[in-house]
Symmetry: C2
């Protein structure tokens, strides 16, 4: 009723306006009802990087979302971030790296399988003018579904038919092991099954990499185990510039960078995840490194600033390429 | 030479990669060399708002850029914002409001007349699917060239032929007065002349509004004098939601919101501009208002947080509409 009342007030105000301002009954340009493209480019040396927004999962949370913080504490952090209680808007942004000779995708998106507002990556790839067939390589940080499901359609077809897929060896060893699956808690069963859905029939084609190795020209893997057994970050370097791709070193930064001690339900080894998070964010802050985070708000890159016991994200300032 | 050396190293590393990863000499998708579209939509009640990025002016500054702060202090603030010294990347974002019955543009952009990286608004309007002819009304905050030059092409043709133009009465009275022009310092002469270039031949069509009045359905003007004699902010309200359009209450927020006492060379009445800035940012922080700033980094909206003696911008989290 508030809305109706307010509209009536506004309609009254409009009566006092000029006839010209009231000449059309409807706007000539109808509302679109859709967000603008989520495509943001950055130059790193001679490389062109394109952040591709894959949507947002409005994740309903309960008391168990953070193992070592109460629901009230999490809701306070959400409020501090101007977000509503009880829902963590978890956004997804994959990174496309065009080296000039190779087009490499770091993480493959949700495939639209995490709620109705996920899965915009392919539309944004099209908005960026890139055919999925043009992607030469996919580098995967870890095997949670929001990072690998986009490799295939729901029907099991390859979305990026020409891409060589590289994954962390430790991640492969853990998730593809049937013994681990049989011993895993029920909450992880879906993740194990999804890993098999994505990788089982293409297992022979998938390359495995060890941490510290180059996974593509100018892209080196960095061990960041803890979030998952083989979770990896990446450095992208060209010329004298670089970007640190943090993958899931922190989930939503306004929760887990501001509160780096918090162990989310998704951090499989919570203590190790926290130690890695602090070490990498400390390093990024000290060296004023340009970083990207898969769950940072789009365009998902910026800088890390130490603040009290936690870290703030200073988002990159949107500018021309 | 650093770059070359690094490329050689990377080339060496690439030799150890798989043959498949090296199969093509060039990427199938060439680098675009251009930024992605700067189009971001927000719903306010039943209204659809579209932030339109108009580019960035990489403004070279000297000791006089802030009247009451030294060049060293300004460079420190730039460094704190992870920006290079001596240049203020001043971005421009206009706001399109589709009320369902009217399409209203708040401020008209630079018209590409502030350096080679300005003037992307029309391309972004096209990316947003809106024909310039579909704009019913233009509401102007003040007469600085980056807010009005986009009304006309360089040849003097109207860019938005069907738009009724509304301007602050106090702004019109000041800038259109030839006596004021004759008494003005040389530094303002170009601004006076540009005002005449834009408005002289369409003077009879231009509507003038008083502060506090509705300027379009759901859009009310707010006196924010000081930056210029008639500088105006706006509230956009629909249903029980609203956005405060701050116009130039603060220029680059990482300088002038963090240091609200600073008087930029563009603040014509520096003391009044500072008083208005503090009053409006205090109010926005206390009421947790969604705000938009013409010179905020795109998408140029967010929330104001009091922090020490200044204010931080908490950028809106990019999400689906």
């Amino acid at each position: 009723m508030t809305g109706l009342t307010r509209r009536n007030v506004l309609a009254g105000a409009a009566l006092s306006m000029s006839a010209a301002a009231l000449s059309s009954a409807r706007a000539a340009a109808p509302a679109t009802g859709a967000q603008g493209p989520g495509v943001y480019r950055t130059k790193i040396g001679s490389y062109e990087l394109t952040a591709l927004y894959d949507g947002t999962w409005f994740r309903k949370i309960d008391e168990k979302f953070v193992r070592n913080a109460s629901g009230a504490q999490v809701n306070k952090a959400l409020s501090d971030a101007f977000l509503a209680p009880g829902i963590v808007p978890t956004s997804f942004t994959a990174m496309l790296v065009n080296t000039g000779s190779k087009v490499v995708l770091i993480d493959a998106g949700t495939g639209g399988q995490l709620g109705p507002a996920s899965g915009s990556m392919l539309a944004n790839l099209a908005a960026a003018g890139v055919d999925p067939k043009a992607i030469d390589a996919i580098v995967i940080s870890h095997f949670h579904p929001d990072h690998i499901s986009g490799i295939k359609t729901k029907d099991g077809a390859k979305v990026f038919p020409n891409a060589e897929i590289s994954v962390p060896a430790q991640e492969w060893a853990y998730w593809m092991d049937d013994g681990n699956m049989s011993r895993a808690p029920d909450s992880l069963r879906g993740t194990f099954l999804n890993v098999r859905r994505i990788f089982a029939d293409i297992a022979k084609e998938v390359k495995q990499f060890e941490p510290g190795k180059d996974v593509a020209p100018g892209i080196a893997s960095i061990a960041a185990f803890g979030h998952t057994p083989g979770h990896s970050a990446f450095s992208v370097a060209s010329g004298n510039q670089s970007m640190l791709v943090l993958s899931d070193v922190t989930n939503h930064p306004w929760l887990f960078a501001r509160h780096p001690d918090w162990q989310g339900v998704f951090d499989m080894d919570g203590n190790m995840a926290v130690a890695v998070r602090k070490r990498m964010l400390d390093r990024a802050a000290a060296d004023r490194m340009l970083v990207q985070g898969y769950h940072f708000p789009f365009p998902a890159s910026g800088y890390i600033v130490k603040s009290g016991k936690g870290y703030e994200i200073a988002p990159v300032m949107w500018q021309p390429l």
